[in-house]
Assembly symmetry: C2
Homo-oligomer: 472 residues x 2
């Protein structure tokens, strides 16, 4: 393909994407295909000779689109969002076009230095404590997902508690880590990967708002110490996945400082709300944390993957992850004047991900981003008020931000049937969880293009499905 | 940004990228900026209000481009390549545009099923043994990097050797792993992360062609058993990073089968050569391996990130990585009829990465891809013949494929000075390593757009730099 052909095909694809967004709210949000349908429709063997781009795009329309669950539909309310935006798509395209590696400073200085700058911007925008700035001993780095950030935090904490011996000698002690019943499953996965063992992960209970009980944490740490364990790591959450619970960071942080435990704070979705000063009470005490992450690819209109991870002492990362084979040695690294971000995470290779974030921040501006976050929270508040006034439904928690947890006043089976029926209908898509042993419906308002009219329509669909369920 | 504005700005960006590729060979390959130059040129605070896209692109030209090391230049011969291509950029753009999550089958069936299909295609194209097919007990999955594949293999091996106890109980035994002096540093990193400990990683010596010595491996395993260790993991490489060494997979595989060790085979760059039947002797014995990976983002013209990872028994991955919180439960997963790829790796979220690979394979066709690989190998052979005939240089190894390791007949300092001088000149970029205690220059021919004229010119530059060095 010549640059000239790329111009032609690229423009067609840009038009295709624009048209996709013009139509996306008309597609069934949840794909309706059966297992194997797409796989079996694809040829069993690859083509021997090259095919035309038009032919490939016909197959995208014919074969791929029916198997898409439309995360970019304004009618998507499931899980946590993975929202894109036009400026992010363009930033990502620029990154693909440049095709550079940012593993070392020298392999593309712009990739490292724009990332440092954008992470400093974001730290300011979220009102993070100064300890996370590169100007202090901290610093930020873009990871792929919050799972990788959790793993990086666990490994760095493991090295710190063992006096830098766990990388060298392996796990020898009896280390224990602490999460709440509501913490994301990625922390359990990280604890397993790190060789700590699931049996050494303590699950702390929560209050009625699904926030970790610090006194239970403290008790458990003491009990573990008495039993000969070495407590080393706590994960607290700003906005848990199931319930949008807000852990008391300050109280937990005080315990961690006193007990010398690494505190990682996971704000995967809800961290984006810290853009708005009125929501910063959720991060009160964050200066006591050792690491913090949130995902612009969830609620900050930046294409997946983009998880922003800060540490209060970057040496813990570089001491943990740095390996310098001869083939990567270079003068800039040895000068000590630069960051080599491959020493801040698991992977070696790294994409120029800060471009899309830079484009998003500059396109919307700080105010524009704040306004969108506030709009989503306001709509969630309205949705919650409709639930509160309804006879058929009940709120399970008062939504602190943009996730509404509610139930149809009926059995678990009825709740699941209601949800599955609506999702099969295709007009909207939302998902469930289980809280206090009961099935709970989750309605998360965070999609880039969701407007009030969509939420109003969604509530009509849910209400009428409930009405129908009652007559059956 | 409306879809209409996206059309306008998107077309401009497509044109920008086309123009970039038209000019890229004229840019200094290695960025010439100083540490801090880009960072300090960027505003200290983000904009309060949104800015125009034109303004952002002006800054890309003015601030970002000077700090780019041009991995997509045909004059890039450094490290291993991270080559892009126009169809890959378009596939990646489509993935950004759709913005779907492929973590579960149900979150976008096309993302899972196209990935399975493309991985089956590739297994056939590379002549992988049938055990790696989903039709047997195996299967393939796209990971971000070979580092993540190595980590996944280590963790799965750790679970297998401990009878599925290491995830639950943590590391308790004295496990030992085996690599050669030439194995990529990512395996050492994985061993540390997994809690095995660097002290339990054995480094096996190599023959003069930098291939692992199987008899030394066998001896070390026996010695470790005698000392009360439990050997569990070997990484063999098809094309080591420093030296393009080819480990004897069959002999190593036989030892691993006999001794019940997990064999992971890393073909990060050179695995792509298996497309050509004449290079498949390098993978002889691969049916004895438990896992294999190679990176289309290195030498298969597919944008980063794209590492293809196969296992011979997929249950080892799913048993190792599966965690099913309530909020991810769904009917398709529970039917057992589908793959949920998030159970095949570290991360939960996952991008629709098979699109770009699908576009690349269909655009070039099998024959087109083979021809490019052969062209690169032929050029490397020519470059090596020039070295062989030269008085000033010597070959360090006979290049098996596309990486030429050579030396200026002089001191280490002279070799580094020669290389640094040429790289500062900006016309070409290549890097060094150390073999047998000596500095060795690496010249890797694998960039999508490298033609014979570029390699001829590169040799002229290197020759004349050497001539100049002699007169100094």
């Amino acid at each position: 393909m010549t640059p000239e052909q790329f111009r032609t095909e690229g423009r067609k694809l840009i038009d295709w994407i624009a048209a996709y967004y013009e139509q996306v709210e008309k597609f069934p949000v949840l794909s309706q295909v059966k297992p194997g349908e797409i796989f079996n429709a694809l040829p069993e063997v690859p083509p021997v000779s090259g095919e035309s781009f038009d032919h490939m795009m016909e197959d995208v329309d014919r074969l791929i689109l029916p198997g898409i669950t439309h995360w970019q539909s304004p009618n998507f309310y499931a899980y946590f969002p993975a929202n894109a935006s036009f400026p992010a798509i363009l930033g990502d395209l620029l990154s693909s076009g440049l095709g550079v590696q940012g593993m070392l400073w020298t392999t593309s200085p712009s990739a490292t230095e724009l990332e440092t700058r954008v992470m400093e911007w974001l730290a300011g925008m979220l009102g993070l404590p100064p300890c996370f700035s590169y100007l202090a001993d901290g610093g930020g780095v873009i990871q792929d997902t919050a799972s990788s950030s959790a793993l990086a935090a666990v490994i760095a904490a493991r090295e710190r508690i063992t006096g830098m011996r766990s990388n060298q000698e392996g796990i020898t002690g009896r280390l224990t880590a602490y999460v709440s019943t509501q913490t994301h499953s990625s922390v359990e996965k990280a604890i397993k990967i790190a060789g700590i063992g699931r049996a050494n992960l303590r699950i702390i209970g929560t209050d009625p708002l699904y926030a970790m009980l610090p006194e239970k944490l403290e008790e458990k740490i003491e009990a573990d110490r008495a039993a000969g364990f070495t407590p080393f790591f706590v994960c607290a959450t700003i906005g848990t996945t199931s319930s949008n619970g807000m852990d008391p960071i300050r109280r937990i942080g005080e315990i961690c400082k006193k007990e010398n435990l690494w505190l990682h704070v996971d704000g995967a979705m809800s961290g984006a709300a810290l853009l708005c000063p009125e929501f910063r009470h959720f991060s009160d005490g964050l200066e006591l944390a050792d690491s913090f992450c949130f995902n612009p690819h969830k609620w900050l209109f930046t294409n997946f993957d983009c998880d922003c991870f800060w540490v209060a002492d970057r040496r813990h990362l570089t001491n943990t992850f740095s390996i310098l084979p001869e083939y990567l040695r270079n003068q800039a690294s040895e000068s000590g004047e630069v960051f080599d971000y491959r020493d801040w995470h698991i992977q070696l290779g790294r994409r120029f991900r800060s471009l899309k974030l830079w484009f998003v921040i500059r396109h919307y501006g700080e105010e524009g981003l704040r306004n969108l976050i506030r709009y989503h929270v306001r709509m969630a508040g309205e949705f919650a008020s409709w639930i509160r006034e309804s006879e058929d439904f009940e709120l399970v928690t008062e939504p602190p931000l943009n996730l509404v947890c509610f139930r149809y006043r009926g059995t678990d089976e009825e709740n699941l049937a209601l949800m599955d029926g609506i999702n099969r209908g295709g007009e909207i898509y939302f998902t469930h969880t289980r809280l206090g042993g009961k099935v709970v419906l989750r309605f998360c308002i965070a999609q880039t293009h969701t407007e009030e009219r969509h939420v109003i329509r969604a509530w009509e669909i849910i209400k009428s499905a409930a009405a129908q369920l009652k007559t059956e």
